[in-house]
């Protein structure tokens, strides 16, 4: 009696597993157009230039979008789909070159250039910087100076006079201060 129940139990388990695994593909969602487009955006049209597969109206791109839909339905990830197309049609169908071989240079060279620029700038500035500060500070608040182009030493004067632009008014103010 126990052995028969065991057989029934195992048969049920096997059949159930079979049934579920057969049903799995059907349970996978058919991807929406938007989901397909999200992946298609990352691919470049192989025939036209400068347009991605999502925006391109050609027949080829329509077929590619269908293929992407199939692969998404199979449960593949975005990266797997991109790799598939790159392997089949070449690296130039990707929006950005993959990071291997010569293509690494497209990323690396800008970084090197910027660092080199910064280093050069630092070197230049160090060479130019004076060791001793000038006698008068000549710091006008907010970079607004008197309009003769002269930087007026305003240490000790009230904030507002720093902001006055008219050079004549500035001179009058200074003269008044001298008198008072």
């Amino acid at each position: 009696m126990n052995k028969k129940k065991h057989i029934h139990l195992w048969s049920f388990i096997v059949l159930a597993t079979l049934a579920v695994s057969l049903a799995m593909p059907a349970l996978a969602q058919t991807p929406s157009v938007d989901e397909i487009n999200a992946v298609a955006k990352k691919l470049s049209c192989p025939t036209c230039s400068g347009i991605n597969v999502a925006d391109c109206p050609t027949e080829t791109c329509a077929q590619w979008r269908a293929k992407i839909g199939e692969m998404l339905a199979e449960g593949r990830s975005d990266q797997e789909i991109l790799d598939y197309f790159a392997a089949r049609y070449g690296d130039h169908v990707l929006q950005v070159p993959p990071k291997r071989g010569f293509f690494v240079l497209v990323w690396v060279l800008p970084v090197i250039a910027i660092l080199a620029g910064l280093a050069w700038l630092a070197y230049l500035m160090r060479g130019w910087s004076r060791k001793t500060p000038p006698a008068t500070e000549g710091y006008p608040q907010g970079a607004q100076e008197a309009e003769g182009g002269a930087v007026v030493a305003t240490s000790g004067s009230p904030d507002e006079s720093d902001l006055i632009e008219d050079e004549y008014l500035q001179r009058v103010q200074k003269d008044l201060e001298k008198l008072s």
């Binding site: 157009v33 938007d34 990352k42 470049s44 230039s49 400068g50 347009i51 991605n52 925006d55 109206p57 070449g90 690296d91 130039h92 990707l94 929006q95 950005v96 070159p97 990071k99 010569f102 293509f103 240079l105 497209v106 990323w107 800008p110 970084v111 250039a113 910027i114 620029g117 910064l118 700038l121 500035m125 130019w128 910087s129 004076r130 500060p133 000038p134 006698a135 008068t136 500070e137 000549g138 710091y139 006008p140 608040q141 907010g142 970079a143 607004q144 309009e147 003769g148 182009g149 002269a150 930087v151 007026v152 030493a153 507002e160 902001l163 006055i164 632009e165 008219d166 050079e167 008014l169």
Partner: protein
């Protein structure tokens, strides 16, 4: 009739070469009569090219299809407005247009009083006329004369290319008269696209003038800031046109091309952006030379770079060396352009090296915390962006030549790498306003930076708290680390500083003169146009930045095939869900060679009907080319943007693509503010010019 135009072209070529040579000889040998002759020749060139343009316009409008160019870009059905603008519709005509604009600028410079520029002017003529001669030579068929000799020497490939150039002559005649022409490229039949090329060309040719003056300054060893002050307005106006050209291109791409965006880092877009980047760096850097007599060599380098990029950009666009949506036919133009750029660049650099002794700085950098240092850093950033753009644009060619593998460098590269660089520029845009010349006091600087930094951080945190949790990618990696709300914080930081500058100026003027605040603001603009015009431009840039951040990170899109009566929904991150119901499709009136179909969609939000949208689909029959023109519902917050991509069964079902573009209209508003600011900054004001000239006197910065 066409012969008149062709003769005018040839004469213009001869005279421009004569002008260049005569001016050079006259300047070197101190022969004013020869220089005057050169000047007259240059003015005659302007007249002759104007004649050539008039003739070509006549041929276009009258539909003389025996002329190859007219057959290429025009047809009977086209409205007369497009027949006229077809002047710049394709290679030959647009090169003539470019040359004509160049001759107008070159002539305008000569008509000014020569006064204190008498020594510079001859060399200005040399440079402008030599450049002009090159461009006119391309369309006058003279290079085909080399085809024979080269062919017999065995260089058949080049010989063929050169022989082909006969067709780039706008007046080239066919052996027969076609019944009708091809018609203008459908992409160009939009008024936005009509203004975009002229604006760009004006920007390009405009930058030749400061370059010519720079070379003249080097040649005559007058390397003070005479040449800078003289050309400041030209530079600003050229820069304005270039900026407008770029903005118009973006606006047209957005409103007509129907892919939901405005900038694709296409090689031709980049070709126009690169001189703008160098030009903007130049525009700022010359302020240092005016103020402190520093960076003279650097300014020369920048203007040489800008000019070279202008020609390089023209080369990129026309040679088809990097395939792009804009590609013109491949021809002998490419190698000739490369040759011209090499010659001009090498000659300029050699001249610069030779004259290094005249370009000694009058002052030194006093401190790392100074406006000079900030400008240097800003220049570095601009050049970094320039390098990234340049590298990404030519990389496909390089990788094919060097590694034998073609690569595509698309928008993700440019966006990821240039994005943070632009963000850093916005930060500097704020900080620079607070930096005085020469040396900043740390305490005062900290005090001035306090509130703007607090405001920026507050905005960053508040936006993050409110739910803006998006992160941007660290360039070249897949890691999302840079919070987008930080970008808004940076924009706030720069905006607060700039607005505070206006406020402080208004308050100071109000307190010292008793004027009301609005009138104080008006006077600020009146008396210091350069500064406040510049601040206004910066505000325009910040608005543009807002639009870019919004669309770049928060755009939503969806696509659906709808039967009549069905709806699609799209959810905006800011305003909720839109519902668009497909009502139907109908044929619309259009010019003869176009099939225009319009779709009608009813828009509702939250159940409430808010209007209708009508995207159209234009099919241009002769070219077999479709264009999907979007319908837009716009507001300050966002755009709802829809195109009809296709339909079946006569409209029973149709495919729609819908986008929500948050903050996109701040791009166009910012553009307008930008233009206004430039107009203010460029506005002539003799009193202000005198003040700045005084600032340029020896012993510039004088402690009182």
């Amino acid at each position: 009739m066409a012969n008149v135009g062709y003769v005018a072209l040839l004469l213009a070529l001869v005279l421009s070469i004569y002008a260049a040579i005569a001016a050079l000889v006259g300047a070197r040998r101190q022969m004013p009569a020869l220089v005057l002759s050169a000047r007259n020749a240059a003015l005659a060139v302007t007249g002759l090219l104007t004649l050539a343009v008039i003739v070509l316009e006549y041929l276009l409008i009258s539909g003389d299809f025996r002329t190859l160019y007219v057959a290429e870009v025009s047809n009977r059905a086209m409205p007369i407005f497009f027949k006229m603008t077809a002047l710049w519709g394709s290679q030959a005509g647009s090169l003539l247009f470019w040359s004509w604009l160049m001759s107008l600028f070159g002539g305008a410079v000569l008509l000014r009083k020569w006064g204190n520029m008498r020594t510079l002017m001859p060399y200005v003529i040399v440079v402008t006329q030599f450049t002009l001669a090159f461009f006119v030579s391309l369309i006058s068929g003279v290079w085909t004369l080399l085809a024979g000799p080269l062919g017999s020497l065995g260089v058949t490939g080049t010989a063929e290319l050169l022989a082909d150039m006969a067709t780039i002559n706008p007046f080239h005649q066919l052996g027969f008269t076609p019944a009708d022409g091809n018609g203008l490229n459908p992409l160009l039949r939009h008024w936005g696209m009509i203004i975009h090329p002229p604006m760009l060309y004006l920007g390009f040719v405009g930058f030749v003038i400061p370059y010519a003056f720079a070379i003249a300054a080097l040649a005559t060893r007058q390397t003070g800031d005479l040449w800078i002050r003289t050309t400041r307005r030209w530079t600003l106006i050229a820069w304005l046109f270039l900026s407008m050209g770029l903005l118009l291109g973006a606006w047209w791409a957005y409103g007509v091309l129907g892919w939901g965006g405005y900038w694709a880092w296409d090689p031709v877009e980049n070709a126009a952006l690169m001189p703008w980047l160098a030009g903007t760096a130049f525009l700022h850097s010359v302020m240092i030379q005016e103020r402190r007599g520093m960076f003279k060599v650097w300014n020369m380098v920048l203007i040489i770079l800008t000019y070279s990029l202008v020609i390089f950009g023209t080369f990129l666009t026309r040679s088809g060396v990097i395939s792009s949506v804009h590609t013109f036919a491949q021809s002998g133009i490419g190698p000739l352009f490369l040759g011209f750029i090499s010659v001009m660049f090498t000659a300029s650099v050699v001249l610069l090296f030779d004259r290094l002794d005249c370009l000694k700085s009058e002052n030194e950098l006093d401190s790392m915390l100074s406006r000079e240092a900030i400008f240097l850093l800003q220049n570095l950033l601009f050049l970094a962006i320039l390098f990234v753009t340049f590298w990404g644009t030519i990389f496909p060619v390089v990788s094919e030549l060097v590694a034998g593998q073609k690569a595509i460098v698309g928008p993700p590269f440019f966006n990821q790498v240039n994005g943070p660089l632009f963000a850093a520029l916005v930060v500097l845009m704020g900080v620079a306003l607070l930096m005085p010349w020469r040396r900043a006091s740390r305490q005062k600087l900290a005090r001035l930076l306090l509130w703007p930094t607090v405001a920026g951080l507050a905005v960053t945190v508040i936006l993050f708290a409110l739910g803006i949790r998006k992160f941007a990618i660290l360039p070249g990696t897949e890691t999302h680390v840079l919070p987008v709300s930080l970008f808004y914080g940076i924009a706030t930081f720069a905006a607060v500083i700039t607005l505070l500058e206006f406020w402080r100026g208004m308050r100071a003027r109000h307190r010292s003169t008793g004027k009301s605040y609005p009138s104080a603001l008006w006077t600020l603009f009146g008396r210091n146009r350069r500064r406040y015009g510049g601040y206004l431009i910066h505000i325009g840039v910040i608005m543009i930045a807002l639009g870019v951040i919004g669309t770049q990170f928060f755009q939503v899109e969806t696509q659906r095939n709808l039967a009549v009566g069905e709806s699609l929904t799209i959810t905006s991150p800011l305003t909720g869900e839109y519902s668009l119901m497909y009502k139907g499709l109908e044929s619309l009136p259009a010019p003869e060679d176009v099939n225009r179909t319009g779709a009608t969609l009813a828009v509702s939000r939250g159940g409430r009907d808010i209007g209708q949208m009508n995207p159209t689909h234009d099919f241009f029959i002769p070219q077999q080319q479709p264009m999907t023109i979007p319908a837009m519902r716009y507001s300050l917050i966002e755009d709802l943007y829809v195109i009809v991509a296709g339909w079946e069964d006569g409209g029973a079902t149709a495919t729609f693509k819908a986008y929500v573009n948050p903050l996109v209209n701040w791009l166009w508003i910012g553009g307008l503010v930008f233009i206004l600011g430039t107009a203010v900054a460029a506005w002539p004001d003799p009193a202000e010019d005198r003040r700045h000239a005084l600032a340029g006197a020896p012993g510039r910065v004088v402690p009182a």
